[in-house]
Amino acid sequence: MKKNSPSMESIGAESRTKRFFQKDFSQYLVLAVPMVFLAIFLLYPMFTTLVRAFMAPADDLAFHGFSLEGFKQFVVSRLYRKSLYNSFVVSISVTLLTLLIGIPMGYFVARVKMPCKNLILSLGILPVIMPSFVGAFTWVILMGRNGIVRVFLNWLLSPFGVTVPSIYGMFGMILCMTLTYYPFVFQLAYGAFASANPLLEEAAMLMGAKKWRIMRTVTFPLVLPSLGAAALLVFVRAIGNFGIPAMIGGDSYVLPTLIYFEVNGFWNINGASSIAVVNVLITALVLWLQKYMVSKHEYETISASRSEMKLHEGKAIRIMALVFCLLVLIASLLPQLTIIIMSFFTKWVGLFPEGFTLQNYIRIPTYSHRELFNSFYLSILATFLCAILGSLVAYITERKKPKGAALLDLSVMAPFILPGTVVSIALLSAFSGNSAIRLTGTYTIIVISYMIRRTPYVYRSVAASLTQLNPSLEEASTIMGASWFYTFRKVSVPLILPAIISGSILTLTTLLQELSTTILLYSGKTRTVPIQIYGAVADGKLGEASALSVVLLVVVFIIVYGMNRSQGNKMASAFKMG
């Protein structure tokens, strides 16, 4: 601001236009990119899906010929009716069963004196970190006609005259999904029981209430919101899961597999769009119901003091708790164990595996090099782009606070609850057939689908970190003379880097196992490892599938473990919501 400073002098004789060019426009340019991306690849596809849902079966997008043909199928077609019914039955049963397993387990670990609590908590998160379809095909081995677990259970149940139903179909799907998704309930219930204020319960006890009554009238209502959130998470996952029903659903179709059936069998994008819309409507309805119920049961804590949590010490309850937790952990981790054993054998149809071999692994470089390359290439590229997109959008909503910030937030987060198959359908409906941009069969469409699905991870992580970050750090830089872009590069990005990294790692590990989106978008050129595993299982080559799965498992495990070492325990909590 010295008299001789040129910038000041020029302002002296300012005009409106000059003042206009004084403004720092780099930020508008940088921030426009994510908005344009979201508009083209998220909002536009969602719109076309909606349009196509009301069109007659075909694969071209045209705005004439309104038709309810797609929805009529839900009335006239037995397959459609059955799929809808199955989806409901599976999702609701899985939700109830996970609650039944997760709540007691969470209560036991939080409130009963027991050894190795931390180990139980870590092992209890594993099933959601590992690919769910891996669990599915190992249960075929364990519970197939002569599977070891089936034989054992049948022997156990024979006095009651009960036999275990076939693993192919509803029973298998429900079993697999329950064991995959119970960690959500377990972890959230544990958190709620562990952090509830024991004074409230003690007060009830002093007022003369019996144990069960306290449970019913005090403890339970207080943890209800957490349990509601967990139940919702499980329901959304279960109704959108493709891998498990695709592997062991057999003739029992559910909505995601029905979508796949329509696309893979008939290339009927419009029909698939109708199913996708129904699928999303159900999810949205459940989401709304949960919000509605939870809002009625939200309590503020009205207490200043808290006391130390008293743990149950009775022998009976301690033994019961430990046995329960061990049984659940063994059942849910059995698949990982099975697949490691299976990967060293040629077949396993009876009680025990047969034909020890290393061939399954030795074959990998020759038969799977392209798939391995694709998996890593697509996942890493998409993760990188997700990191940029998620961080920028978080920066916009948190720092720029534009008028439509809430809308932006909503649209970025929307894919979080969309089933993978629905995202694929949306992209296919916008970028295939006669559309201006055709992306079918390309790497691009897969990368875009990955970005749309996983940006919420980075977005949430970065947005949380930005709210913690004092804006004066950025303002100080501006005052010291830095332009917006300089500040962004030198101050904002380095400070939110930990959040970007942890969001990205979560993204990368889930993308490496991605099946439900890829299955509708891949071509011969863009096959990934999960697709190959799926194919191998379909062909009955379980050895090959297992070896590949082990490779995936090891890679994912190394990434998560390395991350845990460098970032403390935050990863586990990230997965709870992921």
Partner: protein
């Protein structure tokens, strides 16, 4: 040479078109002289930070102008204003060493490396951190006072035209605050950069500032040196904000030459006209006014004396150089408890005793009752 900084009818309304607009600055007009250390003082929420952030360009003002010399800076984007600012939270970068923190403004200006090194060393010597610079740790490894110095060094290193300090001492403990405020004054005088220092602590403001401005609800109440504000406060609010002022409710009895006669609950008091801090037309008989007396202007006595009012001693505190008597007066005279400082203990007066309060001659002032809080 630096220039004067002038505010011309500056208004700031937050959320102007929204549902609940906040009028944070109202018609603010004053000039800060070149090289001056100027204090902005006022209770919480009065708009100090707003004025500072508007000066820096972090907020855009709703109307009015800010002139640096004869250049209007109101519309210049903040990163081109060449201003230095120290934030209450210090806003140091944890991902940089203290050297890089201080060098930041120079790096932005693309200063050559050798020059950066020279200027950083120079400014770190000025703030007394040459030893720390040799170790060059991350700022998270420094004490509060040291972080404060780094923040000041960082704001000074690129020779800003104006230095802004927003409650820079609020995060330090009491002893360090007293030390750092002297340091800030020393550094400011050494660099002679026009400086605005924001605080809500009147003692700090009086100790540091060449001149101060008292703000209330976005309005500048008075501007002047510490002494002017203390001895000639313009209204009841300023008088009680700069130091303590006891107020007696009274009614004008009449004007007699240079003397105003006031009635306080039956007792009469005379105040010289030049001590009246209210409009002359307030001095007509029958008007209600406030007689203001600082703690040291009052006298406590055990027996009734001429022109005294009666009260009850609540608490006696011996504070070293003086003794403070807290006295409860009749509700019609004062709603609040009086603070009276006597040079020593008054013989025979104990807590809960009735005493008589009188005002030393010709020192009390008259204030209008408006805008007391």
């Amino acid at each position: 040479m630096s220039q004067n900084l002038t505010y011309e009818a500056v208004d700031k309304i937050y959320d102007e078109k929204g549902k609940n607009p906040v009028h944070a600055l109202k018609d603010v007009s004053f000039t800060i002289n070149a090289g001056e250390l100027f204090c902005l003082l006022g209770p919480s929420g009065c708009g100090k930070t707003t004025l500072l952030r508007s000066t820096a360009g972090l907020e855009t003002i709703s109307s009015g102008r800010m002139m640096y010399g004869d250049v209007d800076i109101s519309t210049i984007p903040p990163y081109k204003r060449n201003i230095g600012m120290v934030f209450q939270s210090f806003a140091l970068y944890p991902h940089m060493t203290i050297f890089e923190n201080v060098a930041y403004g120079l790096r932005v200006r693309k200063t050559p490396d050798a020059e950066v090194k020279r200027k950083v060393t120079e400014v770190m010597e000025l703030v007394g951190l040459q030893e720390e610079l040799k170790r060059n740790p991350s700022p998270t490894g420094l004490s509060g006072g040291q972080q404060q110095r780094v923040a000041i060094a960082r704001a000074l290193v690129y020779d800003p035209d104006i230095l802004l300090l927003d409650e820079p001492l609020a995060n330090l403990d009491a002893k360090l605050r007293r030390y750092m405020r002297a340091e800030i004054r020393r550094i400011q005088k050494a660099t002679n950069i026009t400086t605005i220092f924001v605080t809500h602590d009147q003692e700090e403001a009086m100790a540091v500032g060449d001149r101060l401005a008292v703000l209330k609800k976005g309005v500048v109440e008075q501007i002047g040196t510490s002494d002017e504000l203390y001895t000639q406060p313009r209204n009841a609010f300023v008088s009680n904000f700069i130091g303590k002022m006891n107020f007696l409710e009274s009614t004008i009895a009449g004007l007699d030459g240079d003397m105003v006669h006031c009635k306080i609950n039956g007792t009469e008091l005379v105040v010289p006209v030049e001590k009246c801090r209210c409009h002359m037309d307030r001095l007509a008989a029958g008007h209600e006014v406030l007689v203001g007396a600082r703690p040291e202007m009052l006298v406590v006595s055990k027996e009734p004396v001429a022109r005294s009012v009666r009260g009850t001693v609540k608490i006696i505190q011996h504070l070293g150089q003086f003794v403070r008597y807290e006295v409860d007066l009749d509700r019609t005279i004062s709603e609040t408890i009086f603070e009276i400082d006597m040079p020593g203990m008054v013989r025979g007066v104990h807590e809960h005793d009735d005493v008589y309060i009188s005002v030393k001659p010709d020192v009390a002032a008259l204030f209008s009752k408006e805008g007391r809080e």
